[in-house]
Symmetry: D2
Subunit: 381 residues, 4 copies
């Protein structure tokens, strides 16, 4: 799939769509991944696209691409491009991804995969039929502390898993003067649940596996917002500020989820707690290098939640730094995400989350919206 894989220094070409903040973050991820990890090919930052030509050219220079383009379709025909990386608004994801898949490109797409589960499924099935590699940008899952928690759960260290509590709360919509955005338009996929709750659902699945039934509730706490920054004209907010959910897992555990973008004071409260019959783990998103762990195997009188600091014992931390406690940052997680994607392309196994996982999360989001609208539990079938 990569051009020149047989040569001494095979290249893999990257085409990026979108030059905004997420585009920059992806470039950071690719560049860092290449320096930190070993791959059997070298990245070629081929083309960056943006609808605005000047933005594309500026990004080309600043991001270090060889070419700029205002036409994302130009990537599809370019034989030097192996990867199409989509950081455009999510209403465009499907069209772009389907075209890239049809052109045989590997596709890396920001979350959420699509505004609806049906679209996400269409994208997933197309990708699977084409045999290309996909990835969705749930980068919190790439935290080595998440891998540690998941491995402890999977290995039975926690015993039988009993309950999960997950929250993703921020306050970036807490100010009632914050104007309406596309996130307040239901056509974009929804409010706090779609935006932040999807992260918690992805985390829940990552750690505990499939969710089989859900009950949700949504609430819009700021009913009116300005139509634009500083505007005195307001309009009705149509998406939720807070969503809460009960979830039941296939493994028998029970759980709760909260998504909240008006949680004054919270900047990255992507927190979870998992309780098992033998042990428990807890995580706070504002301290991403720490996992708290309580084990009933510890001696009586000496039991307590211990704070495990990320270090070389927690791969791939050691690729970034040889000493523990020095801490990874948010951008480093993106580099790990890129690593998993590139390794999958190199045939070293799929780690995901791929499009199918993006679809599964989207399906849960939709189930929760339906549950909230109909005030009833909904089972996966």
């Amino acid at each position: 799939m990569c051009n020149g894989m047989t040569g001494v220094s095979p290249k893999i070409g990257l085409g990026l769509i979108g030059s905004g903040f997420m585009g920059k973050t992806h470039v950071f991820g690719f560049a860092t991944a290449q320096r930190v990890f070993d791959f059997p090919f070298k990245l070629d930052f081929a083309t960056v696209c943006d609808v605005d030509e000047a933005s594309a050219e500026a990004a080309r220079q600043s991001f270090g691409f060889r070419r700029a383009s205002a036409d994302w379709r130009s990537l599809l025909k370019d034989p030097e491009i192996d990867i199409v990386d989509i950081t455009a608004p999510n209403v465009l994801h499907k069209e772009m991804a389907l075209a890239a898949i049809a052109a045989g490109k590997h596709v890396y797409c920001e979350k959420p995969l699509a505004p609806s589960a049906a679209e996400a499924l269409e994208m997933t099935e197309a990708a699977e039929a084409a045999g290309i590699v996909t990835q969705v940008g749930f980068n919190y899952l790439k935290n080595p502390m998440f891998a540690l928690a998941r491995d402890m759960i999977a290995s039975g260290e926690l015993g039988e898993i009993r309950s999960f509590r997950g929250v993703h709360a921020e306050d970036y919509m807490a100010d009632a003067n914050q104007p309406l955005t596309w996130r307040h338009d239901p056509a974009g996929g929804g409010g706090a649940l779609a935006d932040l709750g999807s992260h918690v659902l992805a985390t829940a699945r990552f750690l505990l596996g499939p969710i089989v039934s859900v009950m949700g509730t949504c609430k819009t706490l700021i009913p009116e917002r300005p139509t634009a920054a500083g505007s005195r004209e307001t309009a009705t907010v149509q998406t939720e500020d807070v969503a809460q959910a009960f979830v039941n897992f296939e493994n028998g555990a029970t759980g709760s989820v909260e998504a909240n973008w008006v949680a004054t004071g919270r900047k990255m409260q992507h927190d979870f707690e998992v309780y098992g019959s033998k042990a428990a783990v807890a995580f706070s998103g504002e301290r991403l290098n720490e996992l708290r762990f309580y084990s009933m195997d510890d001696r009586a009188g000496l039991q307590g939640f211990r704070t495990i600091l990320a270090g070389p014992d927690h791969a791939p931390y050691g690729d970034f730094c040889v000493a523990p406690g020095h801490q990874l940052g948010f951008n480093d997680l993106k580099a790990i995400e890129v690593r998993d994607f590139l390794n999958a392309i190199a045939g070293q196994g799929l780690v995901g989350p791929d499009f199918r996982e993006g679809y599964e999360v989207q399906k849960l989001v939709e189930m929760l919206y339906r549950s909230a609208a109909e005030n009833r539990w909904i089972s996966l079938s």
Copy 2:
């Protein structure tokens, strides 16, 4: 109501029913309250009752009462007794309380007030008709940090209140070998929700006011337990290990509640977070002398959750210790509870929680059980 209130040293007589752990805690509360606070009367530790005569006599000596009795009804006719303090099993609360009310005694009763809301209401109406003072033992509410949080909410410091998250999780039932108790018998009032969830509901009402609708779910995660300690015989568990709830408040806020007695590693996770349009507060039960507070009024770049340590600024901390940061303990909260009860008897205003508040909490517990059984939202009216 108190005998001899006109004299120099009027007395108020205490009759205690129950000499177990909670009885001891109440005695601690009365004794400490008397030393720490000023009252217009002196406590007379008159009679302690226990069905077991030997236990009653042992308690008399150890707790410092003048008389012991195996007949709780003896308290009713004793003119030296002004207060009947009930720490007996909660299935007995109603009979004892109604008799004490009929005898014109003030009644202090451990939580939950009664196994059912109907019984709690009957007790409440009898007490109100008799004009006696009542109190229910929700002692977490007596934490000065709770008063601080409530006052900040009431004064508008937090702005419009938007959301509440409350948890009470412990792990005292986490061991599947822990045998069945009366808490596993639905006739006792219920499982984790009745036991621990009632505390969260009391806290939620204390801070945010009335709850108008609820949606709940209950789950028994340990389906079988030994019938007795060490027994190989097991029986089916009939009450829930975990309960989750969505709650809507009269003031427009949304909230969630979790009660969990199998949360491995948690000893006193009575935690809450309250988010308002201007500020937020958060509390952890395992650190009862701390309240975390975030204010949008703090200067940009210097905002953050601050940890307020209990001190003399937070009455009645200063009655226990003149210096901040020295910390109150669980038992001290019981002394504050007693203070409020005695002050109400002395005519200095009712702070509560009284029987009516106990009834309101019990009503919410029942609504949640019905909601969980019927898988639907239930509104108060």
Copy 3:
């Protein structure tokens, strides 16, 4: 030693000198100890003394003593009094204690034992010669978490002890408008080192054993203070606001100590960290129910400081509360201190700190003052 020990209900009589805050705290300790623990005798709150007759009488009523007196010497001749409890200013400690010892009373004395080591030694030798029981009020040492730390060190759980870091910082003198007190008069024993540093030295000895050499430095950061509250007249401050020390332990460990009463924001930073070859413990005075513990025996990748919450595993917590995580308070520690004193009187073994330990701490304080004045290391022998 106790009058009536042969009877069914032997009594032990208490005479308290001082009715201020510490007096109240001691009464709280005696009263609570009697309810929480079992002793082979009953406490008789015989007489409370205060130089001011009205204060003594008020204390009699409020504290629940049988008699009040303005003459502390009256306690000495009273055969009903077994214990003389001294909470008067520390310049009076020696005279009172020596008289009480001469009268054959057991003596409980607030810290510091005396303004000078010489006086403390005189008191110690008199007490030892008389064979009476003594105790000094270093109540932080009574925290069950301290006992846990000391036992872990003593049992070899931490391996060879290598280093100690201890701090006691508060901010009650941080305001430069805070007027001069007896603590600013060197005759009272010294400043932050004598007041707060003595606690750290007591803790260091409690945990690691004897200190063999010290090097100290003292600094007065607020050179002038008002002579009285609100006064515009100021005078030179003659005691230190901050003291720092290096200490070497007999066991080979190295350590540091800081005492600081102008540490803005600190209310009870009585913190310590002890590092051993196999494990470490850390404690923060503002969270007295927690001990942090790191063990190299924990599995690689799962190591971290764990927070042990005080509970029934940590005697005598269970005498106060049957459930873990409910938290003891500052006043409860005083009750534990009283327990140890009463148990020693009952012949159940000396726990201390007794007068000799009070002397040892005072000796270190003086060595540090001398070291600071002479800018040199000082060894014990």
Copy 4:
């Protein structure tokens, strides 16, 4: 100074000496800086040197340099190279830096600048005479939270500064089986004090300014170590495991410093606390995105240490991520360090730490060694 600065896309050429871990970290810093920040020139990764030719070639490919060399002197004559970046062992720093300075190159050198203050001063004076830009790699100083703390101190937010407490403790030498390294040879500059204490001294100076007198003590707690990994042969350790210091600042504040590399459980305890007359700040190296702040200006009853989370308000965080709370990592700090160096080269002002600052820190380290050896206070002048 830069070749081609007049053109549209001027370049600045980088020559790196050393291809080990620090070399990789520096490359990460340069590469990330270039993507994250804007500079008036483009970096040219010209040549990487390593004494081992194969290592140099491997680094060339992996780090993305154009040329590899086994001869660091080749950089000096290369007109395409503007910057010489030294990550070689510190005994080589002086020779390399003096040669680079003589060749008119800007010099970026890892800490410590040199094993002795005399050498550091020679390097400093040569650089200043040549007018080239220098920088020493004290990257902790580049944390936006450090800048925040320093700015608060400088602006008077904390009032008069009274005391400083600084620690750098790790446990990477805690295992007595850890063999001897160059750090155990005094010729390398010293032990824990030179290695870790230098960071605390740099932090102290960064925050509070010049230190005018010091008193130190050093202790070797593990007297013998294996001469090589797994070897049964041991030799005497000649550098200290723990160093403690008292320091007095020019501004009148007092302080203490601890360096400890056998602090079991500590991975990055680079902690400081600064107390002023109006406010205080505290920092923990294991949570590099947080600064704790206590202000007496907060309302009574609502005061407490607040945790400020790094965000876009704390430049240059926003260049890495648009949202607060997402967290920077250790490697990101290196990119900020590079930014300051490149900006200085571009004539946008010197931020440092430059060679002179490296010399000042080294001078303090030496003063402390002398103080410890001679058991006395040493003043700067």
